[in-house]
């Protein structure tokens, strides 16, 4: 399973985040939220100073790009746990 993170942060900000947190997985930038909008994940005014951002969501997709598992949290404080996501992924392998 390959984790890939996406947000409106520009690559420089994501690079900084990855360096500080020690992340080695791929982080992609969607600064005008075009993909976020395409996936209907836009949170209008959800960011600081009213910026449009993505609402938190995870999708596990297979090689045909079909969604096999998803998670839409109702509370930004509740994050999907790594063991839940790994369990979902292991059922597909």
């Amino acid at each position: 399973m390959r984790p890939v993170a996406i947000s409106v942060d520009v690559p420089a900000v994501s690079r900084d985040l990855a360096r500080k947190a020690g992340y080695t997985f791929t982080i992609l930038s969607d600064p005008d939220a075009s993909v976020i909008r395409q996936y209907h994940l836009l949170h209008v005014g959800g960011g600081p100073e009213g910026h449009d951002i993505a609402r938190p969501a995870e999708f596990l997709i297979d090689r045909t790009k079909t969604v096999r598992w998803d998670n839409f949290t109702e509370d930004v404080r509740v994050r999907a746990r790594a063991d839940e996501m790994l369990a979902a992924a292991s059922q597909l392998h």
Binding site: V13, D30, V35, F59
Partner: protein
């Protein structure tokens, strides 16, 4: 004579419960199991704090001469109100998320996209299923976990 006076305990418990409600926000960072219940624990503590605050105020008004430490009770009551209100504000703000009803569902095929990675490379969704360029001998991933996050960390 102060002998018969007692403490208005409801006004002591109210701020403690309200602090407990605020404290649940820090428990999230410990990533515990069943963390989906934490918001409701926090809400229950905040509401319980407000109930006790009301009880304490009622008792104070009806029998003020029976209670000692009245100045403390006033301070504790104000703190309870502030902390409980803060906890309720955090609760509603953290859950103010769009419904995203049209977002991709299980079984749906995602359209391709191309976005820039941290190295300035244009990366397509299809390419994510190929071996990492830096590790050509590693197996190609069978699944990709797309993690959309808020950013601005």
């Amino acid at each position: 004579m102060d002998a018969a006076k007692r403490w208005n305990t409801a006004t002591i418990w109210a701020p403690l419960l309200a602090i407990g409600a605020l404290a649940t926000n820090f428990v999230f960072f410990l990533n515990p199991p069943m963390q989906a219940t934490l918001p409701w624990v926090g809400l229950a503590l905040a509401l319980a704090a407000l109930v006790l605050l009301g009880v304490g105020i009622r008792r104070a008004i009806a029998h003020w001469q029976n209670y000692r430490g009245r100045a403390f009770s006033v301070v504790f009551s104000v703190l309870a109100l502030i902390f409980a209100a803060a906890s309720l504000f955090i609760f509603s703000h953290a859950r103010a998320l769009p419904k995203s009803a049209a977002a991709p569902q299980v079984g749906q095929q995602l359209p391709d996209f191309t976005l820039e990675d941290t190295n300035g490379q244009q990366v397509s969704l299809d390419s994510l299923f190929r071996s990492s360029p830096g590790e050509p001998s590693s197996p190609a991933p069978k699944t990709v976990l797309l993690i959309f996050y808020r950013g601005y960390w």
